[in-house]
C-alpha cells in the first residue's frame, strides 16, 4: 500500500493555491520554525536521518553543517532540473503542491541563514514553472516571502530559473554554472559548493523532495519522521514507476519497501501478461537488476547499494522479456553521449565510443572483442572525471553487458536480436543526426 505522507493532499486541486494549502496545515510549520534557533532546525534535520532525494543520497543535515559559520552571504538552490530518464516525481510535487516546496525552502533558508534562493526548474516543465511563479507571487502577497517574513525579522527572496534542457545542469555544480550564466559545466571540486558555490559564495543545493520533507520533519519531529523507513534510510520516498507495468506513475512508499511489491501490487504487474526481465531501480544511471535480484531487493539506499546498484532518484524502469537489452543499452548510450558536457576527456570521448561500439554491434558489424571492449572502456570511465556523468554512463553499460552477456554475444554472432529475432532498425532519433546533435 502507498503511504501518503508528503503526498497526503495531492488529490485536492485546491492544494495548489495558498488558501487551499493553508486550509490543510500549510505554513504552520514555517511560523513555528521562525521562532526556533536555526541551529536547532539543522540538528533536527540531522537527527531525522533525511538523505538527499536527488540521487546521491547524502545526509541533508550533514550537508548543511558544512557551511562556514560566518556572516558571509549564502544561497539556497533548489534542484528541480529533473533530467534523469524515468524520473518525474519532482514535476508532480511542483505542479500539485508548489507551496509545500516553498514552505520547505523558506524553513531551510532560515536554518542555513540564506537570504536568497533559486528554484532551478527543468526547461521543459512549462506547467511547473507557471505554477511555481504563481505560488511565489501568492506567498509574496501574503508576506511569506520578502522583507521581514511573518514579523520574524527574517528576509528571504525566491526566484525561479528556467533551465535550457541540459541533463548535466542537474548536477549541482553544473547547475551553479548555468545559474551564473556560464556554460552548464560541472566545476572542479574542491572547493565544494558549501564553501564556494554560486557566485563564489557558500551554497546549498537540495532536491525538491528533500526540501519539501523538511516541513514534515519539523511537524512530526525527527522521531516522528523516523517512523517510516529504516535506521539508515529514514522517511518516505516518491518513486516514479515506468516501463512495462500496468499502472505506471508516482508512488510514495516508506523506504525499504520491497521492489517486487512495487511492481506487482502498486504497479499492477507486468503489462500484457509478460514476464519480468530486468529493472533499472534508480533512474537510467543506476545499474540494471535481473528478475531474480528484484525478488530480494528492498527500496532503500543500503540494500540496493549492497546489490551493486543504487536508489538514485527513485525512477524504477521495468523491462519485460520482449525487450532486447542491446537495443535498450543503445538507447542509454545515445542519451549519455548526447548529454556529456564535453569537459573531461574520458567522458567526452568515452560516451561517444560506447555508443559507437553498441551501434556497430547493432548494425551487425560487431566483433566478439567489442563486448569486452565495452567493459574495458566503461571501467576506465568510472571515477575519472569531475562529475558523475561519466560513471552514470559507464554503470549501465557494465551491468547490461555482464548481466545479459548472452544477448550481446548472440547479436554479434547472428547479427540479430536474441529476443526479437530481428535485425536492428535505426530509430529516427539516431538516424536524424541533425536533431540528435543539435
Amino acid at each position: 500500500m502507498e503511504t501518503k505522507y508528503l503526498t497526503e493532499f495531492y488529490h485536492l486541486p485546491e492544494f495548489k493555491n495558498l488558501d487551499g494549502y493553508r486550509k490543510n496545515g500549510g505554513y504552520i510549520q514555517l511560523t513555528k520554525a521562525l521562532l526556533m534557533q536555526p541551529q536547532a532546525i539543522i540538528d533536527e534535520v540531522k537527527a531525522s536521518g533525511l538523505r538527499g532525494r536527488g540521487g546521491a543520497g547524502f545526509s541533508t543535515g550533514m550537508k548543511w553543517g558544512f557551511l562556514p559559520k560566518n556572516n558571509e552571504p549564502r544561497y539556497l538552490l533548489c534542484n528541480a532540473d529533473e533530467g534523469e530518464p524515468g524520473t518525474f516525481k519532482d514535476r508532480m510535487m511542483m505542479e500539485k503542491a508548489p507551496h509545500q516546496l516553498i514552505e520547505g525552502m523558506i524553513i531551510s533558508a532560515f536554518a542555513i541563514g540564506s537570504k536568497k534562493s533559486y528554484i532551478y526548474v527543468r526547461g521543459e516543465y512549462e506547467e511547473s514553472i507557471t505554477t511555481l511563479l504563481t505560488a511565489i507571487q501568492e506567498a509574496y502577497k501574503a508576506g511569506l516571502l520578502g522583507k521581514n517574513i511573518l514579523g520574524s525579522g527574517f528576509d528571504h527572496d525566491m526566484d525561479v530559473y528556467r533551465g535550457a534542457g541540459a541533463y548535466i545542469c542537474g548536477e549541482e555544480t553544473g547547475m551553479i554554472s548555468s545559474l551564473e550564466g556560464l556554460k552548464g559545466q560541472p566545476k572542479l571540486k574542491p572547493p565544494f559548493p558549501a564553501v564556494q558555490g554560486f557566485l563564489k559564495k557558500p551554497t546549498i543545493v537540495n532536491n525538491v523532495e528533500t526540501l519539501a520533507a523538511v516541513k514534515y520533519i519539523l511537524r512530526d519531529g525527527a522521531q516522528g519522521y523516523r517512523k517510516y523507513g529504516t535506521e539508515k534510510s529514514a522517511g518516505t520516498k516518491l518513486f516514479s514507476l515506468s516501463g512495462n507495468v500496468n499502472k505506471p506513475g508516482n508512488y510514495e512508499v516508506p523506504l525499504a519497501y520491497p521492489l517486487k511489491d512495487m511492481i506487482n501490487i502498486l504497479g499492477g504487474g507486468i503489462k500484457n501478461g509478460k514476464k519480468l526481465k530486468a529493472v533499472i531501480p534508480g533512474g537510467s544511471s543506476a545499474p540494471v537488476m535481473t528478475a531474480e535480484e528484484v525478488e530480494r531487493a528492498t527500496l532503500d539506499y543500503e540494500c540496493l547499494a549492497q546489490m551493486g546498484t543504487m536508489l538514485g532518484s527513485g525512477a524504477i524502469i521495468v523491462i519485460d522479456d520482449s525487450k532486447c537489452m542491446v537495443e535498450c543499452l543503445a538507447n542509454l548510450t545515445h542519451f549519455y553521449r548526447h548529454e556529456s558536457c564535453g569537459q573531461c576527456t574520458p567522458c567526452r570521448e568515452g560516451t561517444g565510443w560506447l555508443e559507437k561500439i553498441v551501434h556497430s554491434i547493432l548494425s551487425g558489424n560487431g566483433r566478439m572483442e567489442d563486448i569486452d571492449l565495452l567493459i574495458k572502456v566503461a571501467d576506465n570511465m568510472k571515477g575519472k572525471t569531475i562529475c558523475a556523468l561519466s560513471d552514470a554512463a559507464a554503470l549501465p553499460v557494465l551491468s547490461f553487458v555482464t548481466k545479459f552477456r548472452d544477448e550481446f554475444e548472440y547479436f554479434v554472432q547472428h547479427g540479430k536480436s536474441k529476443v526479437k529475432g530481428t535485425a536492428y532498425k535505426t530509430p529516427n532519433y539516431i538516424a536524424d543526426k541533425g536533431h540528435a546533435h543539435a
Binding site: P190, R337, S340, G342, T345, R348, I357, D370, H437
Partner: protein, 529 residues
C-alpha cells in the same frame, strides 16, 4: 613548509602547492595537458592521475593540494593503466595528421604517448569529424579535429590577455574551440595560444609549413623588440631563423611574450641584412673589401682629425659591453665628446600596456644612458644638428639600429648625417633611406652583427641586466661594435672568419635552386666527364 613523499622521494614543499607543481619543481615525470603553470586549473584532461595513500580513488594532481605527510605515487600499475586509458581517450578521435601537422616533433600527444602510452588502440569505429583549417584571425589557424579541448587557449584569452575571444562551443564529442560570432582572435598576445596548445590545433600563420620542428635548433636569448627584454628562445637552422618563442622568467615576462616580439627574427635573416661593406664614390655605390679592413682604414683618418671634427651617433640597440668599448675609444683615444643618442620617436614615452609591451622599442636604452653618464656625456640632438649644419663635425660615425622599422624618422636623420663630409655608417640592416638620399658626399656602409650573432647584455626598463649568448652566424663579414671600437682605436686585432652555416645560399634562392645554379656553372666538368 610541508613534508610529503612523492614516488618514494621525501620532499619539502610550500603550503598550498599542488601535487603537480611539486612534482614539476622536483623533476618528476607526470602526464598532463590542461595544466599550465601560468593559467588557472581546469582539471579536464584527467591525465595527471596520482595515487594518494589512504584514498581509494585516483586523484588529479593539478587540483589536489599537498598536505602534511602525504604519500603520493604515480608509478603504480593502477596509475599507469589510468594514464594509458586517459591517453587513449584523447587519441581515439584525434586524426592521424602527424605527417602534415606542424606540431609533430614537439607535440604533447606524441611525447606522452612515447612516455606513458605505447599501446595499440582498440578503436575500430570511424573517428569524429570536425572543421579543419579554420581561419581564427590574422595570426592563427585552427584545426578542430586535432584539438583535445584542454581549454588552455580559452583560459589564456580569459585570464592573461583578457580579450575573451575564444570559447568552447557545443557539447560532448562534438565540442569545438571557436570564436564568438563575427569576432576574430586578434590581439597582441594571440600567438601565445599556439605555444601553449599541447597539440597542433592552433598553428601560427607565420610559421605554418615553413619547417618541420626537428629541422630546427633552439637557443636562448633576449628579445630586442622593446625595453621589456622578454626571455626568448629562437629557433633556427642553416637557412636562417624561423620563429621566436617565450622562455619562462618570473621576473620579466612570466610565460608569455607579445606578437610583435615574435617578428624580431625577420630583420636578423639574410634577406634584410647588409652583407658586404659598400662605398659611395663618384656617384655610384660599390662593394668594397672586408668590413674589418675598411674599418681599419678609417682609424688613420680619425687619428689625424681634430677631436672636434669627430662625431659618434649611437642607438639603444647595442649591448652594454659594446657601449663601453665604443665610448672608451671615442672619449679616451679620440678624445671627443661629440657623442649623441639617436632616439626612436617613441623612446621617451613610457607607455605600457599592462602586460608586456612598452613604447620604447629599444632593448637597451637604459644601458646607453648609464654608459653616457659614466663617461660624462650630456650632448643633445640639437647639438648634433647644429654642428653638422655648421660643418664642425666632418667625420661622423653612425652605429645604426638593427630593428630599423621602429625608427620611423630614419629618412630625416639620414639626410642630416649625410651633411658630414665623411660618413661611416655601421648597420646590420639595409638602409634604403641612405641609398635614396640625394646629397650624399662620401658614405661607407659597413655590416654589423645583430643580437643573434653576438654575446652581451641588455639593461631593461627596470634596470635588470640580462646576459645572452651568441646564437648563430648569419652574415660572416659583419663586425660587432667591440671590434669596431678596437679597429677605430687603431689596435691590431685578429678577426676570426666565422663561416655561416648557410654558405651555399645565395640571396633569395632556395637551397635547391642554388645547387642548380652551382651545377650549371660546373657544366664543363660534367661535359668532360
Amino acid at each position: 613548509m610541508l613534508k610529503c613523499t612523492i614516488n618514494g622521494v621525501e620532499l619539502e614543499v610550500k603550503e598550498g602547492t599542488s601535487i603537480i607543481q611539486a612534482m614539476f619543481d622536483n623533476h618528476q615525470k607526470i602526464a598532463h595537458y590542461c595544466w599550465h603553470p601560468g593559467l588557472s586549473i581546469a582539471g579536464v584532461c584527467r591525465l595527471c592521475m596520482v595515487e594518494i595513500e589512504g584514498n581509494p580513488r585516483l586523484q588529479i594532481a593539478c587540483n589536489t593540494v599537498v598536505t602534511e605527510g602525504m604519500n603520493i605515487n604515480n608509478t603504480s600499475s593502477k596509475v599507469q593503466e589510468a594514464v594509458k586509458w586517459g591517453l587513449d581517450f584523447h587519441l581515439i578521435n584525434h586524426p592521424l595528421d602527424c605527417p602534415i601537422c606542424d606540431q609533430a616533433g614537439e607535440c604533447g600527444l606524441q611525447d606522452q604517448y612515447m612516455e606513458f602510452g605505447q599501446y595499440t588502440s582498440e578503436m575500430a569505429e570511424p573517428k569524429q569529424k570536425k572543421r579543419k583549417v579554420v581561419d581564427l584571425g590574422p595570426t592563427i589557424v585552427l584545426d578542430s579535429e586535432r584539438c583535445i579541448l584542454c581549454s588552455r587557449c580559452v583560459r589564456f584569452t580569459d585570464e592573461v590577455s583578457k580579450t575573451n575571444e575564444l570559447g568552447i562551443f557545443n557539447r560532448g564529442d562534438h565540442a569545438e574551440i571557436g570564436t564568438h560570432d563575427g569576432k576574430k582572435l586578434d590581439n597582441r598576445y594571440s600567438l601565445n595560444t599556439v605555444d601553449i596548445c599541447p597539440v597542433g590545433a592552433l598553428t601560427s600563420k607565420d610559421f605554418r609549413f615553413k619547417q618541420r620542428a626537428w629541422y630546427l635548433k633552439d637557443s636562448d636569448t633576449i628579445c630586442n623588440g622593446c625595453s621589456t627584454g622578454c626571455n626568448v628562445k629562437v629557433y633556427f637552422n642553416k637557412e636562417g631563423l624561423f620563429r621566436v618563442k617565450p622562455r619562462f622568467n618570473a621576473e620579466v615576462n612570466g610565460h608569455w611574450m607579445c606578437d610583435d616580439g615574435r617578428n624580431t627574427y625577420k630583420f636578423v635573416n639574410k634577406e634584410a641584412r647588409l652583407e658586404k661593406s659598400q662605398e659611395y664614390k663618384n656617384g655610384a655605390w660599390n662593394v668594397t673589401g672586408a668590413a674589418g679592413a675598411v674599418t681599419k682604414s678609417f682609424s688613420k683618418l680619425l687619428a689625424s682629425a681634430q677631436p672636434e671634427e669627430i662625431g659618434l651617433v649611437l642607438t639603444g640597440q647595442l649591448t652594454n659591453e659594446e657601449y663601453e668599448s665604443i665610448l672608451n675609444t671615442f672619449t679616451n683615444t679620440l678624445k671627443t665628446k661629440n657623442i649623441y643618442h639617436w632616439k626612436s620617436p617613441e623612446t621617451e614615452k613610457n607607455n605600457f600596456d599592462g602586460l608586456l609591451i612598452r613604447a620604447d622599442k629599444n632593448p637597451n636604452t637604459n644601458g646607453l644612458l648609464a654608459a653616457f653618464k659614466k663617461h660624462g656625456i650630456s650632448s643633445t640632438w640639437t647639438d648634433l644638428e647644429a654642428k653638422l649644419n655648421s660643418k664642425q663635425i666632418k667625420n661622423l660615425v653612425v652605429i645604426g639600429p638593427e630593428n630599423i622599422a621602429v625608427y620611423k624618422d630614419i629618412e630625416t636623420q639620414v639626410n642630416l648625417f649625410t651633411k658630414a663630409s665623411n660618413l661611416m655608417y655601421f648597420t646590420s640592416a639595409q638602409v634604403a633611406a641612405l641609398k635614396a638620399s640625394q646629397n650624399i658626399q662620401s658614405v661607407t656602409l659597413i655590416p654589423l652583427k645583430t643580437f643573434i650573432e653576438k654575446s652581451g647584455s641588455f639593461t631593461n626598463h627596470a634596470g635588470k641586466v640580462q646576459a645572452f649568448k651568441k646564437v648563430t652566424t648569419i652574415v660572416s663579414d659583419a663586425l660587432n661594435v667591440n671590434e669596431v671600437a678596437q679597429l677605430l682605436a687603431g689596435q691590431e686585432i685578429k678577426l676570426q672568419f666565422v663561416p655561416t652555416e648557410n654558405l651555399f645560399i645565395a640571396e633569395n634562392l632556395r637551397p635547391d635552386q642554388v645547387r642548380l645554379e652551382l651545377r650549371k656553372k660546373n657544366e664543363f666538368f660534367f661535359n668532360k666527364g
